[in-house]
């Protein structure tokens, strides 16, 4: 029999420490939806998504009520549209995004990911058409998320794609006052089973349909650490590990239950610590609890390395189906502690870049001055991709150059996307470097210093 204190501990985690299932994401293959005619292709996509996911939201809500654990988001990821729709003879790829948007609205999910292309080695015709359509797609839809993979450890970095994405990010920002960029991620080493937005897509190695679950719980880890204040760091790591174990077990239970009820195979539990703008649900707070005056101070990278590794160790013990991104997220606008540090000038883009060397996933939800040149955005993408390529990990860039805003101004993205101070970017120009194009060759995998 479970003890009273264990029951009360769980209830306290849920009611006071923001413990929740961050997302139940259904991955749906659209590989059977290709057709030369645009309308037929769109109809097949709409029918496939709405049929497969018709019970997703209701099932999620049922599980929420029976287990008494909030499931914050129900979402869908689909096969990268550049692959699924390559055979369609159209230039109007934004129409596919609008179709996905309608299907998402019909099923009741809040985001659908997969308006994506994988171009780490080079472009196909479909890849180019899709990337050109990204600004229009993101500005004429509400729920569609887009991602482009520009590099990998095996292929190197496609610098033509990097330069192009610098321009696409700028164009999307200009068309949408920056808001569209919150739904656009540029990856290196993108994973195929990520349940988190905006970067989720259903990889080509995945089954027809699958359920992936993302857990969360920065507030729970923070509260647990308060109980070992001042103790040596190995003891803190042990506390984080045990907490991550509990959180993940809950995620595994929900994933198994959702998979059983929907009759869809269970894919993975993603162990990421995902913050929200709510007070007490912050990764920055955890780092500060470990002894830093502010996130961004010297020591931040080391503290984050400890946190990220301990979360993985606890999670791997709790579930035999761990995947996705599985690391601590450090989105600036979605984390009250990061916002505070960035606004006070204690957290810079350069420090955030260093932090991404030891955690997933990258420079995330960072507002940049509106006059940041496209080449500089591209170069920021290239730097992040290089970190991912060399370290054999996923890295990503989701930055928002906000038209008309300068350093220190605040931008509001609404809801879970939060608000962010515009951060300073190094003014020295990388234009000639980005202008060279070509590829950065794949790295050697020995001689690791």
């Amino acid at each position: 029999m479970i003890t009273t204190s264990e029951i009360l501990e769980t209830i306290e985690m849920i009611s006071q420490q923001h413990l929740d299932i961050r997302t139940v994401t259904m991955g749906i293959s659209l590989r059977g939806c290709g057709h030369p005619e645009l309308k037929t292709c769109c109809d097949k996509i709409y029918d496939t998504v709405t049929k497969r996911a018709e019970n997703l939201v209701r099932t999620g809500e049922d599980i929420e009520r029976e287990f008494g654990i909030p499931i914050v988001n129900k979402r869908i990821s689909v096969t990268p549209i550049a692959i699924a729709c390559e055979c369609c003879e159209t230039e109007d790829y934004a129409e596919f995004a609008r179709t996905l948007d309608r299907a998402a609205a019909e099923t009741g999910v809040n985001f659908i990911g997969g308006f994506s292309a994988l171009v780490q080695k080079g472009f196909t015709g479909g890849d180019r058409r899709l990337i050109r359509a990204i600004p229009e797609a993101l500005c004429t839809t509400r729920r569609v998320c887009s991602s482009v993979n520009v590099g990998s450890t095996r292929a190197g970095i496609n610098m033509d794609a990097v330069a192009l994405m610098g321009r696409i990010v700028k164009e999307t920002a200009d068309l949408s006052q920056g808001q569209g960029c919150a739904k656009l991620v540029v990856f290196c080493n993108a994973v195929e089973d990520n349940p988190f937005m905006a970067g989720a897509f259903h990889g080509v190695g995945e089954p027809e349909c699958v359920i992936n679950v993302g857990v969360s719980g920065p507030g729970v880890v923070h509260s647990a650490l308060k109980r070992c204040a001042g103790r040596p760091l190995n003891e803190a790591a042990e506390v984080i590990k045990k907490t991550a174990f509990r959180v993940t077990r809950m995620g595994e239970l929900v994933a198994q239950e959702a998979s059983r009820r929907l009759g869809v195979p269970f894919g993975i539990v993603d162990l990421s610590l995902a913050p929200t703008p709510a007070v007490g649900d912050s990764v920055a707070d955890i780092l500060e609890e470990l002894g830093l005056e502010s996130v961004g101070a010297p020591g931040t990278t080391a503290a984050l390395a400890l946190l990220n590794d301990a979360v993985k160790k606890g999670g791997v013990m709790a579930s035999s189906n761990v995947g996705g991104l599985s690391g601590a997220f450090i989105p600036v606008s979605e984390d009250a502690g990061m916002i505070r540090a960035a606004a006070a000038g204690k957290l810079t883009i350069e420090k955030l870049e260093a932090m991404t060397c030891v955690c997933s996933v990258g420079l995330d939800m960072i507002a940049l001055p509106g006059d940041t040149p496209a080449e500089t955005v591209a170069a920021i993408i290239a730097d992040e991709a290089a970190i991912g390529m060399i370290n054999q990990k996923t890295t990503a860039v989701r930055v928002i150059p906000v038209p008309g805003k300068g350093v220190g101004d605040f931008v509001d993205f609404g809801g879970l996307l939060g608000r962010a101070p515009v951060m300073a970017v190094n003014p020295a120009s990388p234009a000639a470097f980005i202008g060279r194009g070509g590829r950065i060759p794949a790295p050697v995998n020995s001689l690791k210093n």
Binding site: E6, I7, L8, R246
Partner: protein
């Protein structure tokens, strides 16, 4: 199906009797009860069996929540599995 009912709130006369009556009206069998008063707060944990419950689980959860709110109590019902998963290997 086994579930855990937790009742937390300010201590008043007759809480146990009242919650048990609501459960009985809905065909829920109480298997075990532990209760304590910590400072002035009443905390009760019940293990119940919902196999004979006359309403679905979500409706029962709503009934308990509303009933509790009227008396200043936080009443939750959750499937037992979640506690097992979190606290037992």
């Amino acid at each position: 199906m086994k579930a855990i009912v937790t009742v937390i709130g300010k201590d008043t006369v007759g809480i146990i009797a009242h919650v048990c009556a609501v459960l009985a009206q809905n065909g829920v069998n109480v298997l075990d009860i532990s209760q304590t008063v910590m400072r002035e707060y009443f905390t009760m944990i019940m293990l119940v069996d919902t196999a004979g419950c006359r309403v679905d689980f979500a409706a029962l959860a709503d009934i308990l929540k509303k009933d509790g709110a009227e008396r200043g109590l936080d009443i939750r019902i959750q499937r037992e599995d979640i506690f097992e998963a979190m606290h037992r290997i």
